[in-house]
Subunit: 518 residues, 2 copies
């Protein structure tokens, strides 16, 4: 046994479980259900999934019509471009839940070759632990990356918690990947156990409050293998801010500044949640230069842009389920400094409706498109093609103190620099409804929708948010719909169903949402 | 001062505020914002709204183009067919939030003559107290029905709590309607104050737990009038169960029985939430004869069908924001018995996501239509015409342990006994998304959607739930959509946007959703 492994494994009964990744292949079988630790892809297992992929590749056993090792894969968040994608390429995934972000898998899902369930980050994992997705059966094999095994056999996880607790609870067999290349993350976690109703109040009233333990208890008798890993993948990298995303950030900061002035927000704001992408990145960068002191973050994923905010003291503390950094050097080189400013929690806690509402989280997420009434599509391009999944956007938008969505007003196609309007008559797939959205913002401006009726929202969204080249077209549609429906007393939220997706069908046919006529 | 009034008003400083309903007219002005206590219409003010309506009628001051007393009306739930409708008839309502159920008002809203904001019951009221809908200004006048005024000036409310606490907090002036015809409801309430983030945990882990006070504290200096009332309106009456609703109830009880057998539910189930209507009624009646003992209810509104369940001991306890009975005799004649089995809470507590999730509420609501993928329309007939509003359905469906929707598979039109299919390719307005629904049930059968991919959900919903005369039509659409989208790797949730509302447009044109062809 390697000395690096022995240093990190302080529970002697596991010593005789130590084996190579290849030795674990026997625990997997065709049709079995598999759970991975990790989130975005941080803290996910590496060497065991690679060994399985190599085994399938070398023996060429997963022919399209006759796979011999195709499995149901559960991972709390995206596992991403590495092993999730490789498993998909090898035809190893029959079913995935509740989120994915792997090109090959995405293609299979959109072609009907793999099944995918798209579920809120917070509810997914409670449903798993209640036996909803396995017909009460255990998950056959759960692979968990740990950075240390303590004397009592409990695990110190790595840069994420995700669904590890619930998966271990539901596991028939557990394989531990002990990562000896990263530091032990001891001290970073707040591990809360699974529960059945009635649960207990989550006694968190400040972002930095702890209610759980530093390590994750597991049933040692379930552990069938302990494998050393020295691999590390970068987390999701985020495109940097461009001019338009900076404009969005600026509109948002003006809005928040006014909310402070009106007494609806304290000067340090309330805890922030920020989605992924260059707009979120620009907003975070904008906050770095804003007047708001001592900010806190209560979010799903901590990203690159937050490290400089810790450095400057602008950001006081963060709670999340994952730390997703595109490069780990800065974090590891200052591990003592950063690790005291973060808490990593199970995704049922990082995204708990109870906490999001109680703490007054300001939720900021990016949709694919939003409609004139404030419904938003976060998941399906063209209404039918899955991108990644809803993730935690619904957890935060529904329960936030302020629910904000930000996107560019238009995107280019091959034939039209503004061929896709992100403001449409009706979102072609709806993940978030008009009942949840407070503020919509694009590079053109910000629409404060609070308290408004649908028609008033539509006028404001077209005026403030739509791309200039679409304003007349959308206004014409709105006026036409008002006339057609209100004249027969059926127009609280006017639409003409026969034309409502004409911009979308025109995009499919002509690669632009600019119409010749309605 | 009437002795009846003096008996119920134990706070002497209010004696000199006692006046007639007509004396309060001066506190209202054109454009002012008004809050009413009450919910469904129980506990709402009566004699003051009537006095205002009579004043407008007698003096004919609200001509359509030149109203002299048109107001913004905030009531936590529906105020219903009495004063809400009369105010609307008199052109007295310019804006209403967050729910309504009054024919005249509905017609105005759908004709663009009155504005309406449709918001979750739980978030609406928090937003009000945070100044979101009044630009931080107070509500000009708040009218609260009480059944007793205590020695400290605090109020014992009546058969509902609704938004009274938050409205009083936001009020510039308060008018109290002291109802001396009903019993004092002292002991029935659990009044919790308004809050700003960060809030405190709501320490309720059993339906019967209390965290607040019996009476509602108000600032006595805001009280401008105390008016006696002896009026009482019946609550919402519910159509009785028919054969089809009994079939739905029977499918549901079979499902719950199996969940108990599988160990996913305890034998007393978890607390039940039940929407309004004859299906809900049939379900409750079905539970009366079910094997489940000691049931509890954690819901928005207690209705008629629950009283016999208290009588039989089947129902142990209920928590709600309103007690909406179509006749009050049985309740008042056994006030001591029933009042010990209920708690009435503010709607921010009765519908709190935190509590719904913690208690594991089984949520059951009726949509207008659901689609093959599990999105549901709860608010807009034909996608554009508001019915009542989302109410608390979103609070419960999103956060419930089991999220169930029940509806008839089809409804009749003038030309076709099954002219409207309640299962459609895409809901014409989406209030609840596929990410929230666990179970869909019609008289034909029950679809357990947990864990399934969109296409698998669609097949199951068509098979189990759709009306037999629509099964082939829906299957043809589904297969066509799969072919069209999956062939271009864009079909995780197959739709053909150019045809997706063809059943709806055919209904508008030909009064049936049965198509000649797609």
């Amino acid at each position: 046994m390697a000395s690096s492994l022995k240093q990190r494994c302080k529970y002697a009964p596991f010593f005789n479980k130590v084996c190579s990744p290849q030795d674990t292949i026997k625990f997997f079988s065709n049709g079995c259900s598999v759970g991975w630790s990790g989130f975005t892809p941080v803290g996910d297992p590496k060497v065991v999934p690679i060994a399985l992929a190599e085994y399938v590749e070398k023996n060429n056993i997963n022919k399209e019509n006759n796979p011999e090792l195709k499995m149901k894969l559960f991972v709390g968040g995206s596992a991403g471009p590495y092993n999730e994608d490789r498993w998909a390429k090898n035809n190893m995934i029959s079913y995935r839940s509740p989120y994915q972000n792997a090109d090959s898998l995405k293609k299979q899902i959109n072609s009907g070759k793999a099944a995918f369930q798209d579920k809120h980050v917070s509810t997914f994992i409670q449903d798993v632990s209640w036996g909803y997705y396995t017909n009460n059966l255990p998950l056959d094999v759960v692979i968990i990356e740990a950075t240390e095994i303590l004397e009592d056999g409990s695990l110190i996880l790595g840069g994420s918690v995700g669904s590890s607790v619930e998966f271990a609870h539901m596991a028939k067999k557990i394989i531990i990947e002990l990562n000896t290349a990263t530091p032990s993350f001891k001290g970073c976690h707040d591990i809360v156990d699974t529960w059945k109703p009635p649960g207990s109040p989550l006694n968190i009233t400040r972002v930095s409050d702890r209610i759980g333990s530093l390590s994750m208890k597991i049933d040692p008798s379930k552990v069938v293998a302990v494998v050393e890993s020295q691999l590390q993948f970068p987390g999701r990298s985020v495109a940097s801010a461009n001019e338009d995303s900076k404009k969005i950030a600026s509109h948002l900061i003006d809005f928040l500044t006014n909310e402070v002035k009106q007494g609806r927000l304290p000067e340090s704001l309330y805890p922030l949640q920020s989605g992924v992408g260059n707009i979120a990145n620009a907003t975070i960068e904008g906050l770095q230069n804003s007047p708001f002191p001592n900010l806190e973050v209560f979010t799903e994923v901590v990203q690159d842009a937050m490290l400089p905010m810790f450095d400057s003291g602008k950001l006081k503390f963060s709670s999340s389920t994952a730390l997703s950094l595109s490069s780990w050097d800065q974090f590891y080189n200052n591990f003592d400094f950063y690790s005291k400013k973060i808490i990593l929690r199970p995704q049922q806690i990082s995204n708990a409706p109870e906490l999001i509402r109680r703490l007054g989280v300001i939720a900021m997420n990016t949709p694919v498109e939003a409609d004139i009434y404030g419904h938003a599509n976060s998941t399906h391009s063209g209404g039918t093609k899955i991108i990644n999944g809803i993730g935690g956007s619904g957890d935060f938008l529904r329960n936030g103190y302020l629910s904000i969505m930000h996107c560019f007003s238009a995107r280019k196609t091959k034939v039209d620099p503004y061929g896709i309007s992100c403001i449409v008559p009706m979102a072609s797939h709806i993940d978030h409804t008009e009942h949840d959205l407070d503020v919509l913002v694009t590079e053109n401006g910000l629409a404060d929708l609070r308290g408004l009726s649908p028609v008033d929202r539509a006028r404001l969204i077209i005026d403030k948010c739509a791309h200039p080249t679409y304003k007349d077209q959308l206004t014409e549609y709105l006026n036409m719909s008002i006339k057609e429906t209100q004249s027969r007393a059926a127009g609280h939220e006017p639409q003409i169903l026969s034309k409502v997706f004409k911009m979308h069908t025109n995009l499919l046919e002509n690669q632009t949402m600019h119409l010749k006529s309605w």
